[in-house]
Chain length 549, copies 2
Amino acid sequence: MTATPFHVYDTTLRDGAQQEGMNLSVADKLAIAPLLDELGVGFIEGGWPGAVPKDTEFFRRAAKELSLRNAVLAAFGATRKAGTRAWDDPQVRALLDSEAPVVTLVAKSDVRHVERALRTTPDEGLAMISDTVAFLVGEGRRVVVDAEHFFDGYRFDPAYSRAAAEAAFTAGAEVVVLCDTNGGMLPHWVTDVVTEVRGALGVPHGRDAAAGDHLLGVHAHNDSGCAVGNTLAAVASGAWHVQGTVNGYGERTGNVDLVTVVANLELKHGLRTLAGEGLAEATRIAHAVAEITNISPYARQPYVGASAFAHKAGLHASAIKVDPDLYQHIDPTAVGNDMRMLVSDMAGRASIELKGRELGYDLSGQGELLTRVMTRVKDAEAQGYTFDAADASFELLLREELTGTRQTYFRVESWRTIVETTAGTAGHDAASRDADAVAEATVKLHAGGERVVATGEGNGPVNALDQALRSALTRVYPQMEKFELIDFKVRILDAQQGTDATTRVLVETTDGQHSWSTVGVGPNVIEAAWESLIDAYVYGLVHAGVEPR
Amino acid sequence: MTATPFHVYDTTLRDGAQQEGMNLSVADKLAIAPLLDELGVGFIEGGWPGAVPKDTEFFRRAAKELSLRNAVLAAFGATRKAGTRAWDDPQVRALLDSEAPVVTLVAKSDVRHVERALRTTPDEGLAMISDTVAFLVGEGRRVVVDAEHFFDGYRFDPAYSRAAAEAAFTAGAEVVVLCDTNGGMLPHWVTDVVTEVRGALGVPHGRDAAAGDHLLGVHAHNDSGCAVGNTLAAVASGAWHVQGTVNGYGERTGNVDLVTVVANLELKHGLRTLAGEGLAEATRIAHAVAEITNISPYARQPYVGASAFAHKAGLHASAIKVDPDLYQHIDPTAVGNDMRMLVSDMAGRASIELKGRELGYDLSGQGELLTRVMTRVKDAEAQGYTFDAADASFELLLREELTGTRQTYFRVESWRTIVETTAGTAGHDAASRDADAVAEATVKLHAGGERVVATGEGNGPVNALDQALRSALTRVYPQMEKFELIDFKVRILDAQQGTDATTRVLVETTDGQHSWSTVGVGPNVIEAAWESLIDAYVYGLVHAGVEPR
């Protein structure tokens, strides 16, 4: 008897793509699928061939272009229309034509949806499931049935929902997936429903299932904030097939985050769920998928978020140094993430020492230096600086204290920026909603033994200053051509003082391979931006190993 | 016998502020506290007086400036140091000096932390709890004990963790909060631990507790993605005190999102947890807090997220229109959110009609007008405007559509602003940290039948523009002298485009009696600020009943 492997079923490319603002091209999907395969999922649901032309194209190209090591492709579709035959339904035929080895059928299992949305009888609803499953199984496909609105339906009319699941199994479905389509379930309700249904249908607990046995699965959304808890509750109750998406993408509040679920099952329950060692690459994979979807990663995401293992409190830092295990629920390297120390005004010397180590500076035993750095950090934070989001500015400060000096790549003599509307364009509307302002900046500085005066234009004053600064410096430091500003954040502090407030600007810069963050503060957004730009360029030059000229 | 009310304990201002990148000023905290009170939480943990100077200041000002209807303030602090006496410990005295009626003490309840982090004996660890609690209770404070690392500690050495909780109760603590400090718990573990500890200590299930009975509480972090599930599991097991933060702010993956927990308990379990009807305002309150923290709201946030009830048009559109309950886990108005459907503009028109009524305009039956306003709002929001936080700009737009014209108090011909460093001041330091920039602005406009050219100076470009505009207009409209800018917020949209990003500015203005908010958007922070300034002055003049001259 061979045990059934646990099914990790990814629907990023289909249900995940329902997320507001997400629009995946065929090329995007072809780029994401190998990442999912690398993670080690067993199934990749690619889309709905026949219904969505892009998805038809995806399956056509996937058959030729993808070579998956761990996963098989699944085509998603619906049961036949009411009052037709499965083999006559073009939507069902398109599922066959996709050549995906697995077909996942969405089936109504809430009798209210059968009557009010499908507008057919409960019996025809069941026949639609049986016929379509039997037809596809007869054509040699493995069939998964997504029992839509199962939990809500079961709580309203358990007999019908059970009958829908039974119809699917009887017709040859391998898995019936209990879907919390509206996402409103709570874990103890999931436990109750999965346990009852498994008993009623005689489906074995997944850990006891042999190859060929029926399996229950779970498909959770996060509307109650319980997608992970609900999924774990279903698995504990014997559901051995878990659907979800990378980064929890999906409609409304999203689908369950598959990486979080898998990490909990593997690292906390010791359950083998993925093929290979992909979990140790999960952070990189999740971020790579985010690059393709172009949705900013969520820093607070469990396991793989940028902040997931970031520690700020000074209270804990000295103990973390000794015993990191006491302050982390898992070893972050198990998911390819890292512990990070955040330097803030709550930081003590211990967290500065740890931060230094993270940045590659051994500060152990340098008590006096640590005190100096800590004092500077606290003074700066009292003025409005924040270093926990500006590692590069912190490193410049640390290097300055370590070496007693700051690398002087250039000396600024003065700068100026002008923003103005062209006379006339602002005139026709008091609100000047259509005014077009232009910005210009001039920078005077000394670099490479010369005095340089350069001017830049931009659509805003900071952009213009950036252009002027580059134009002044790239002849002396050609490495700067690679530097690019990729993010720019403004925060007004002491906001109760109107336009007199202090401004903090955070800038993120890249050289195409790495990125770094710097901070500037001033009574004036332009001055704060200027300061963070200067730090960004100095840091970039230091790290490129450039000597001041 | 009076039943114990359920404790909703908010720690946004203390544990939430540990979030990476968050840095709350005293003014921020004083602005957030009334929002928490409006939500109806029972406790607001304001910070750690004595340890953090800002927090000492918060409690000093809160005592004078805040009038809370539902919540009491809690001061957070630690048990006395090892080998001292509670009344001699300045950190403990500072908790008394804060005058907060509730003191929440963090106490070590994991014996490994006692030995390795506190570096003292298990017995002294318990004495630190007993002494400090007894001292504060003797001084008339209600005492809550946050049993740090309780779950991990209990799973390692249950006897010690139980003894820590017992020491707290015996010394007079009202609540012992079992903290999942590292956030690694899963719901079924939480159920087991809470049930066992409650039994061992003889603490009643919260629903059966009488006034004066001991209570257990829960404090969850989201490192396993189960903060909500863990909190609900603890409540189901009898923990009647829940700690969390608005928007789930907090260190690493954040604390549990208090609004999600409360909405689940109130709407799904029928448990009364909040004072008043604040849950119906939860969406507005959560977003208002996000405006103050300046952390972009997360669209996929359960209950209150912008996408939480957004349905993509498709398969079920007509069914959703007929039967929304079949497609939503709750009625979104229960948390002050809205269903959004791309195929239907009905929700949009209804909310504009409601908003109009709120502002004093009866728009009922004016379908065509509502459609025009809705279209303009949607177009504007697509460009980055947001009217949620800018009622005055919305009202100007609405009046324009109602009257067919916009009040023209003045016509702007052009404006210009210059920010520059004086040559020499920027020169002595490459980072120009000590540079002093000055800003100047010139405005040319027509008002009262004349062309006026005026110049203003300020410490920033927006301040200078504001001065120039006032100087140009106050002779014609003396009412403007009373207007004062009191808040100014900048948010960068499309942040992946560096300094090319679109900028949104929100301005709040007062005439000494009322205040109003306006919005401006542009590729350029100055232009966006200018637009919001103009709206602010026009709105102020309209509402002062001033006729254009």
